[in-house]
């Protein structure tokens, strides 16, 4: 029995063989993807807050 096949292929589904590596990559993508988006969003959030503060500061000076 070829044991490497068991490690590579988790099971066979509707569209073909499902590879264990693909499952782990897809879960990694979910984790890193959502984290990456939130990092970008939080950075943009901070930038907007700073820009708005600077804008309101200038108005007060006037």
């Amino acid at each position: 029995m070829n044991l490497s096949w068991m490690f590579l292929t988790a099971f066979t589904s509707v569209m073909g063989e499902v590879k264990t590596e693909d499952i782990s990559h897809s879960l990694e993508l979910m984790g890193k993807g959502m984290l990456g988006i939130f990092v970008v969003m939080v950075l943009i959030f901070l930038v907007i807050v700073i820009l708005n503060k600077m804008g309101s500061g200038k108005k007060k000076e006037k």
Binding site: M15, I37, V40, V47, N52, G55, K58
Partner: protein, 384 residues
């Protein structure tokens, strides 16, 4: 009689390739949806007509080995070589978007992130269905609810389901008024849908409006370099709009440029709707996965709002429906949320909050596309 054979060559071709007739019917269906049901007519109509065009006997608009047909040329130049068409369309979209509601209420950005969850869940589901990882990643981006991003990711990944992904991306965008209310009702109570959110926007300075597109481009470029083309062209369009000194260019980007690209984008995409490529079980699965992506994007945004509400004081609670507007389908999604809010309580106006979340979703979807491309590059799955 043999000298008149050329008159029946076309009919013989169709008789020996019955799948082409099925594609004519699909083309007819897309045209019908565009005209009768008003489903994204600007794209579904050209795509429907294109589906008929590219399934006529060769050489037709595709050409043969010795000559390049017009649709093949449009595809090679406009999409395959540099994704020029979707990117140029983004300049027009950027010029159309007013980020004001987001700049005056930046917490809406979080929903633009949360409502991309469906993309990643769909990738996992597609893998579990047996799609290769690169096809799963391409299919997931349908959930970006953003045609140009879906086109660009599917093209860069060399997806064999490019046509199906594009059709799904645009047709589901037209179905937002049906998909979103169902998904939102599934995970909210009537009491939650009636939460009122007063709107008291802070004024946004012109400097902020001008610096915003520049800084967002830099941030996206640093965190997700593969999103730069998408974010950059979107923000370039927005900078033209906000600069205040390029009104003519802004109007041109919003109108004639976007319209011109739209006219040819649908026909160009139809290059991938040739019967032998398009008609497969995989296409049906991709369409189903697209529906899952849209639904779970909405649910992701709504549930995130519900989680935030656990930590917010009573008078600051967020109507969870606003979270659902964090998908990128702009401005349909914001309008759907406003309509639903008024249906539950005719004094509850959520439009501006929803617009804020909706434009955040526009940023979120291109960043999601960029992150997918970055990881695909890392895993050696990209063709370009």
């Amino acid at each position: 009689m043999s000298e008149f054979q050329f008159l029946v060559d076309g009919a013989s071709y169709v008789a020996s390739n019955p799948k082409t007739v099925v594609m004519w019917l699909i083309g007819g269906l897309l045209i019908w949806l565009a005209i009768k049901k008003d489903f994204e007519p600007a794209l579904l109509l050209p795509m429907g007509f294109g589906a008929i065009l590219v399934n006529l006997p060769l050489p037709g608009v595709l050409g043969t080995e010795g000559s390049t047909g017009i649709v093949t040329w449009l595809y090679n130049v406009g999409i395959a070589s540099s994704e020029a068409m979707p990117l140029l369309l983004f300049v027009g979209i950027g010029a159309m978007i007013d980020f004001g509601p987001l700049l005056s209420n930046p917490r809406m950005l979080l929903f633009g992130g949360a409502a991309q969850f469906g993309i990643f869940l769909t990738v996992v589901l597609a893998v579990l269905l047996g799609f290769p990882l690169k096809e799963a990643m391409s299919a997931g981006v349908i959930g970006a609810a953003d045609g140009p991003t879906s086109i660009m990711v599917a093209q860069k990944m060399g997806s064999e389901y490019f046509g199906a992904i594009t059709v799904a991306a645009y047709s589901y965008m037209a179905l937002v008024p049906i998909i979103q209310p169902m998904a939102i009702r599934l995970v909210t109570t009537q009491k939650e849908r009636r939460i009122r959110m007063p709107y008291s926007p802070a004024s946004v300075s012109k400097t902020t409006r001008i610096l915003f597109p520049i800084i967002v481009t830099i941030i996206a470029g640093l965190v997700a370099p593969d999103s730069v083309a998408l974010v950059g062209f979107l923000m370039f369009g927005n900078l033209i709009r906000e600069s205040g000194c390029l009104d003519n260019l802004s109007q041109t980007a919003q109108g004639p440029l976007a319209n011109l690209i739209t006219i040819f984008l649908g026909i160009t995409i139809s290059f991938q709707m040739q019967a032998e490529k398009f008609l497969s079980v995989g296409t049906l699965m991709i369409m189903a996965l697209g529906l899952v992506a849209f639904t779970f994007d909405t649910i992701g945004g709504v549930l995130f709002a519900k989680v935030l509400n656990l930590f917010l004081p009573h008078d600051k609670k967020i109507n969870p429906m606003v979270g659902g507007a964090g998908i990128s389908a702009f401005p349909m999604s914001a309008r759907v949320i406003q309509k639903m809010a008024l249906k539950e309580d005719n004094q509850n106006h959520l439009l501006m909050h929803a617009v804020g979340a909706n434009v955040a979703g526009q940023i979120g979807s291109v960043v999601a596309g960029g992150i997918i491309l970055s990881l695909a590059r890392m895993w050696g799955l990209m063709i370009a």
